[in-house]
Point group: C2
Chain length 265, copies 2
């Protein structure tokens, strides 16, 4: 079952064939088609980060309260999220860390191998290609593409940059499951179309543009300009209502004590 | 007025002093304190991108339908968003592009100068520092920090990397309004505290951890691992229900025709 998950302008023009569970996705990891809300999927990834840290620390059990606090949600939401994947803690004890980790990993499809194709290796794309963080998290960059003759043939992190016209062949050969679009906005739609034609159904878009994709293709968007502009709004709001942040005398403590609930990995 | 906007674990432990408008922020750009929902602020940034493109193309007027389609929202939502900042189009005509652009820019605080401090210039941080996209959008990187002796004293994009212990002095001197945290997770909270102590009230966090901040500090989060894992979920979902994306025969067209509603800049 493929379900629409929003931000796809094309879908609105098409007669709706959506099942009643719009906004839901289906976790098939356990064989049963249990609907998992889109927001839950994103939070599962956050819970997994916390769980991984706990595992590293040798912890065997975690309470829903602790897990929730570390993930920055309330514990009722956490319990509801985990019930979607069939995980329920033991009252008064909590969740078994290793078991819950495995369940979340299975739901997120992290037990299967992934291969990432990154298109556009100028500026941000080059940075992302050399970043190393994707491979570290189980998403190795298997293919790099660009159209710039100066870049095609060069290597970044041991992967050769191939001309974008080769996207269909190379993606099929290397079993690419996820495409990352880091081209200028004007090129992003064409690149996206090539990835989709090559069978890629999951796309992370860094280009500042809305991509139109057919049903069944999932697009996630990271727009750094939007993030900065939202922060700018909050700077402006403060300047309009409270005195601007002035020079600070020395290395003072934060203005309010903040409990260390953050979790590191 | 400072209003809580979620994802701050610390706030939950504190007796609530929240005004009824939780989740709302205040646009002071026009002098009047009109509440602007957080989601609207993010969409304003997207509308601005579309408007800038239209301006570049020499367009003077845009209908709410066209602007909405290009931004990937429905036109009712667009009109409601714009009403929050006091902009209403003319029935049957639409919005004046230059005027609406100016109104959105003023609301987002883009008419005032910004200065960005980026902390952590290894891997992703280095990539972001050299990216160039921040300055292009009006957010010049004014300061770079790290603790690695091998990095302190080097230059990236013409800005010298300074030791993180200098955050308070340097941020105050250079009028830093926005901090970008690109450190490993274990260092992120301390860096965040230093930025806050230095008077920085807007933080973009790339570190895979939840930052605890005092009231009045806005944190936006970009977690690439979470984005990839959400995409992984969708790959797994498809593999469980539909045949895996296999080799594609040649450079076929996308599986479904997709109207070009995407907007480029």
């Amino acid at each position: 079952m493929t379900v629409d998950r929003g931000t796809r302008p094309t879908r609105r023009a098409v007669p709706s064939t959506r099942p009643p569970g719009e906004g839901l996705a289906t976790a098939d990891a356990g064989g049963a088609a249990r609907p998992v809300p889109a927001a839950t999927v994103a939070r599962l990834a956050v819970y997994l980060r916390v769980l991984t840290t706990l595992l590293d620390e040798g912890r065997t059990v975690v309470s829903s309260e602790e897990l929730a606090a570390a993930a920055g949600v309330n514990s009722a939401k956490l319990r509801k999220d985990l019930s979607h994947i069939g995980s329920s803690g033991v009252r008064g004890v909590g969740y078994e860390v290793s078991r819950l980790t495995a369940e979340v990993e299975a739901t997120l499809g992290l037990t299967q191998p992934h291969a990432v194709a990154l298109v556009g290796v100028g500026n941000l794309g080059h940075a992302l290609a050399g970043y190393g963080g994707f491979a570290q998290r189980g998403f190795p960059v298997a293919a790099l593409f660009d159209v710039d003759p100066a870049l095609v043939g060069t290597e970044i992190g041991g992967v050769e940059v191939v001309h974008a016209s080769e996207i269909p062949r190379v993606c099929a050969e290397r079993g690419v499951t996820i495409g990352v679009v880091a081209t200028p906005a004007r090129a992003a739609q064409e690149v996206c179309d090539h990835l989709v034609a090559a069978g890629v159904r999951s796309i992370l878009n860094f280009a500042p543009t809305v991509l139109a994709v057919p049903a069944g293709v999932e697009v996630r968007k990271v727009d750094l300009a939007v993030e900065m502009q939202v922060l700018s709004f909050h700077v402006a709001r403060r300047h309009g209502s409270v005195p601007a942040a002035g020079p600070v005398t020395g290395t003072t403590a934060p203005t309010a004590p903040t409990p260390r609930e953050a979790v590191t990995r």
